[in-house]
Amino acid sequence: MDNFSTLIGGIAGDGINEAGVTVGRLFSRLGYHIYMYYDYPSLIRGGHNFSLVRASSHKIGTHMDQVDVLIALNQETLEKHLGRLKDSSFVIYDMDKVKAEGFKQKGCGLPVSGILKEEGALPIMRNTCILGGFCRVVGIEWAVLEDVLRKHIPKKLEQNLQVARRGYDSAVEFCRVEKLDMPTLPIMTGNQAIGLGLIKAGLGAYVAYPMTPSSSLLDFMARFAPDFGLKVVHPENEIAVMLMAQGFAYAGIKAAVGTSGGGFCLMTEGLSLAGMAEMPVVIIMGQRTGPSTGLPTYTAQGDLHFILNAGQGEFPRFVVSPGDAEEAYYWSGVALNMAWKFQVPAFILSDKTVSEGQYSFDLAAAGDLREEAYPLWKGQGRYHRYQYTETGVSPLAFPPQKGQVIKVDSYAHDEYGITTEEPKITKDMNDKRLLKGGSLAKDLEGYETVKVAGEGKTALLFWGSNKGVCLEAAEKLRLRAVQVLVLSPFPEEKLKEALAGIERVIAVECNSTAQLARLAGCYGFKTQDRILKYDGRPFSLNDLEAELGKVLA
């Protein structure tokens, strides 16, 4: 079986995200690769939430519109997703809450409320009960579900097992998902992968103010802070966040901050400070639908040019946009290394799709990530924080240093860090900072900053979360897939090689103005077609295939 999609839906508070992850873990144990799209409105209880879990024998990073099994905890789920049913689909529903109307496919109702009542169980256990039924329907052995529940249910395990078992026993087998001879991979969100990558590369502090879709990274860091000796601070606002990161850097602690567009707006004055004062800082920017508050819990790729140009004045920056959890892990660590090697702001430009989507994660395939050394002062002579060097990078020292003074300055400054308005020093220091950008670009030549897959005369050009959908569509339609991972410094030469022999370039982006296409255009790369989606939802494989069908017709 190449693909198996399951949708579970209910109201916020039903535990739909966790239920989707449980479905993912079940398929993982059978050797499948997982991608899960989680859709939820901006509220705490009520509303319609659903998790769309796709399992495949291949590595995947996108969902498909149609589902093989639809699990409805309420009527709304059934009504909203009837269109996703194929003739061969199967519907599982809570027969106490859902009227089985409007579909001709096979289905089975479970007496969920009755079971919960008899077992004296809490309403949150509805999904445990219905997932028991799901396992029976798709022929997943009880032992597999029991293993998942035993590992991940923190409270009232025995009661959950009993409720699940009752659900399992009440259902009928509809099909049998075959077990693949493949390893079981962990499943994690892009945010969790970002967290692990930063920690692996030596992160010492994480500072953030909560904002979707980056809040879960703050939660992750706070949870694991004691294990890794992290200092995690949640201060008064994003202005403080950005400044605190630089206080940590001044004292020698590698820090990262996380936010979304609105929070990043507040960080821009601090970003410019980091540019002038040459303070290393990593910024995780999880994009969501804008402008302004927009759709807080939905996706977009609308902030690329904002990130590339934010902050007054000119200074180099590193910007990478990972396309899945493995890239999020690897490139977050690289971003931290780059920030400290070149004393620049380094951005991890994510979005709701990558940050909150669930992906199978293969550490071995993610790339060999290490904490890299950075230029440190060797303790000879008098310390000059902004000493001119061949690379533009001045060695760092941290207080206290007996007999030395470490001066950092937001004004134009001399090598010692004292304010100046002298034209020559102003220009020389500007050149020094730009030189660091050149050194950074040179260092990046050793990295796969542009990824290419497939052959053909037509290329899909994309970035960030569209990786999964574009790779799959390109493979199916025999197109070349060109992913621009690093967006600053722009990998001009590598993109030239990637597009060699290409006659037609189709940009695929989740924004309305084709921001990557415009960026590439600045370097002379022409795009012939643009497929853009900006309704807050990521492309499904079907969406993109349909659009490509029109473009290529």
Binding site: R25, S28, R29, K151, T184, P186, M188, Q192, L196, I199, K200, G204, A205, V207, F224, A225, P226, D227, F228, G229, L230, K231, V233, P235, E236, N237, I239, A240, V241, L243, M244, Q246, G247, F248, Y250, A251, G252, A255, E269, G270, A277, F361, L363, P399, P400, Q401, K402, G403, Q404, V405, I406, K407, V408, D409, S410, Y411, H413, G417, I418, T419
Partner: protein, 284 residues
């Protein structure tokens, strides 16, 4: 250590007669003394905002982070959390931390983090050539309020007291002995110290005559009493009238500091890879 050793080659650009000279001189003396008393000068980090006050970090050959307008507190807070052994001293103007960065100031006091904030309170924006600030008296005719400001001034000490600061004092740039004593106490205090320094801007709001006439040093007050401190602090609300202006230490309390109680997990020798594998295993 000779205070002169703490001087840099930077050219001083304050106006002749500026109150900032007194703060610079007082601080240099205090820090040179403290260097011999268990506060080594290399452990001192100065953090400033932007404005005339902030130039002080260019004039002191001491570790410094010359930050941006209103943003001393977050930088200083992180430096302190990163290394609690450092002695972090902040300088700010009344426009800087009472307008642009008020949120940070309130939170620093709320956390009672062990920092010292020296407010160069000249009650006017100097570098931008004379606009009213949060502590300008009502009716202040500045360039942005040519008909006179209609707002009542803010009393920063009252705000600091209710926000949780644990050392609160007011100094004046005339009377170096008192200023030095207050700065020294503030720096040595464990917790958030706030010293409001009446620092005269000779170019845009010359208050020397008024302050010389109206200031007096409070003596014999119970600095452990919140109520007494509040009464003294409220006895002058930064108005432009004839009210006497109290100087001295108004409040001091010994309470837990953020940097002491912050879960500042030691950067112990963590087996990062083993712990990461454990987390990955839990994602299965």
């Amino acid at each position: 250590m000779n205070p002169k050793d703490l001087t840099t080659y930077a050219k001083n650009t304050w106006c002749p007669g500026c109150g900032n000279f007194s703060i610079l001189s007082a601080l240099r003396t205090v820090l040179a003394q403290l260097d011999g008393e268990g506060v080594p000068i290399e452990n001192v980090v100065l953090v400033s905002g932007i404005g005339c006050h902030a130039k002080i970090v260019d004039y002191l050959n001491i570790n410094s982070f010359y930050s941006i307008h209103g943003r001393t507190m977050p930088v200083a807070t992180a430096i302190k959390l990163a290394n609690p052994d450092l002695k972090v001293i902040c300088f700010s103007g009344d426009g800087d931390s009472l307008a642009e960065g008020l949120d940070h100031l309130v939170f620093a006091a709320k956390r009672n983090i062990d920092l010292t904030m020296i407010l160069h309170d000249n009650r006017v924006y100097g570098l931008t050539t004379g606009q009213y600030t949060p502590t300008s008296p009502q009716g202040f005719r500045g360039k942005s309020t040519p008909l006179g400001s209609v707002e009542l001034p803010m009393n920063p000490l009252e705000l600091m007291l209710v926000s949780g600061a644990t050392y609160i004092a007011r100094g004046y740039t005339h009377g170096l002995d008192l200023l030095q004593r207050l700065l020294r106490e503030a720096i040595l205090h464990r917790g958030f110290s706030f010293v409001d320094v009446l620092q005269v801007c000779v170019s845009y709001f010359n208050m020397y005559e008024t302050y010389n006439k109206r200031t007096y040093e409070v003596k014999g007050n119970d600095t452990g009493s919140f109520e007494q401190a509040m009464k003294i602090i409220r006895s002058w609300n930064y108005d432009g009238g004839e009210t006497p202006i109290p100087l001295g230490k108004f409040y001091q309390a010994d309470l837990p500091c953020f940097d002491q109680v912050f879960p500042g997990y030691e950067r112990k020798a963590v087996d990062r890879d083993a712990k990461m594998n454990e987390i990955l295993e839990n994602f299965i």
